[in-house]
Amino acid sequence: MDERKVVLKLSDLTMQFGGVVAVDNLNLDVHKNEIVGLIGPNGAGKTTAFNCITGVYEPTNGSIEINGQVVIENYPKGKMKDAYKGRNQGKYTKALTMLPDQVTRLGVARTFQNIRLFKGMTVLENVMVAMHMNQTASVFGATFRSRKAREEEKAMREKAEELLRKVDLYDNRDDLSTSLPYGKQRHLEIARALATQPSILLLDEPAAGMNPQESDDLMRFVGRIRDEFDLSILMIEHHMQVVMGICEHIYVLNYGGQIADGTPEEIQANPAVIEAYLGGDE
């Protein structure tokens, strides 16, 4: 198996809304500098898993480890105790929750399935917002432009511009984020996620709505930022040539359940996956 350190570990992750089990007992590991793919038909629970990792939803059962430390854990409580349809009930006892911004502070950044840029702000400001959490000036310092605040502001601006150069958005840094073409907005969202200096990057369908040429560029871009920023990446994607081309390990979800995981070649040959995607021949 992979000898690199496990940076992100999901154990028995289950998310149940009322009667529907959106994510059923997902076990997933992401190793240092590994690009892991998470695929599955629409409604398989991929984005819900993302939302559990990033603290937007509280998982119904199971735990999430970041850099070897359990940060989120939960077990069915109250009404859910008997309504719980998933497995491993009682295996988890602690109730640890985390707000999305705390998860981001741990170095887990994310992008969104449908683009969520800050409409009222320019491209540069979008990226600089993500750096806000790392600056140390107090609100008074920032308002009255203390020396430390001014230096931090300058450093933030330079780093943001450097990031924008990487996604060649530097020249329209003062345009409104909504004025960018669709592909560019995707790149901006990735640049903004990088601005939080993450160690783990969660990409939610980065190549959605892109033509083959654009998704190729994106594929190479993801590879480049993985090396340059020493990241480990977990990616949800439908474009098979992107997933097969770049992911070292792939997990396949269907109706919330985990039906297969392995290298791209194993996944392509795996009958369960083919059946889930193309429907079996009666």
Binding site: F17, T47, N51, V56, F112
Partner: protein, 265 residues
């Protein structure tokens, strides 16, 4: 109802309530009582729909704040216009004989209207809930209140649904005004403000989008307020309504019966 569908706090609702009372005062000098009552209801409906057409429809896509301001503007206009027309003096509401007969139950003496109002309210609410649940227009209203864009994609004529909502909303408001003013017979241009605000507080308290919730909310607030007054804390009776509201919002952010909507990421 209006809030459930348009997500707009209709500040002008209290003033439509007041204007129906005012028009009743003028009409009754000329027409018999039952005829003026009907005309008042029609008047309220017409006023409500014109407000919707003039003040809210053009702003359908505008930011939420400006629709709110337009509602405040309409309320400002109605109040000041009433002040300008009537000279601001309190008018006494015509006494509807069978409504204002004093009746004594045990030791408490009160007017007949205080007995009739709860009964009539419940009847009207039942009718309304049935309309919402079982008629086509009711389903359309529920669809529009759930999601604006998709229901228009499904071929529901948004404007017609909203106009019908205003017709029902203002019609009920005018009926309410007849009951309210025969119990408290003093009307002046400002008397619409507090009932309007309390009605909204009751709707929020009962749970947005649920009509029985609003009615229960209103009953609870009305009863608690008088209990407070009875207990001698009179200075804080109005402030108390807001304390009650804030406590409920802390415990259950979408009110007693409101359904919890999880915003999708």
């Amino acid at each position: 109802m209006v809030y459930g569908i348009l997500r707009l706090i209709n500040f002008a609702h209290g003033d439509v309530f007041m204007w129906s009372g005012l028009i009743m005062v003028y009409l009754v000098t000329v027409l018999p009582m039952w005829l003026s009552a009907i005309i008042v209801v029609i008047f309220a409906v017409v006023l409500g729909t014109t407000i919707e057409k003039v003040a809210y429809r053009p702003l359908r896509s505008a930011p939420r704040m400006s629709i709110m301001i337009s509602a405040i503007g309409v309320s400002y206009l109605l109040q000041n216009f009433a002040l300008y027309i009537t000279g601001g003096l309190t008018k006494t509401y015509p006494s509807i004989s069978w409504l204002q007969k004093t009746v004594t139950i045990g030791t408490a003496t009160t007017k007949m209207v205080t007995l009739i109002t709860p009964v009539l309210t419940i009847v009207l609410v039942v009718l309304l809930v049935m309309l919402i649940k079982y008629t086509k227009i009711g389903m359309a209203m529920r669809a529009v209140s759930r999601d604006f864009e998709t229901s228009s994609l499904m071929g529901i004529d948004i404007n017609r649904v909203i106009t019908v909502t205003f017709i029902i909303g203002c019609g009920l408001a005018s009926i309410g005004s007849i009951l309210y003013f025969s119990n408290y017979t003093g009307i002046n241009p400002m008397s619409g403000a507090m009932p309007g605000l309390k009605a909204f507080v009751a709707a929020v308290f009962g749970g947005i989008g649920s009509i029985p919730g609003a009615v229960v909310g209103a009953f609870v607030i009305g009863i608690c307020e008088n209990l407070i007054k009875g207990a001698g804390w009179t200075t804080f009776s109005d402030a108390f309504t807001f304390v009650l509201l804030i406590i409920i919002l802390m415990v259950k952010p979408t009110g007693l019966f409101g359904e919890k909507n999880l915003d999708k990421v």
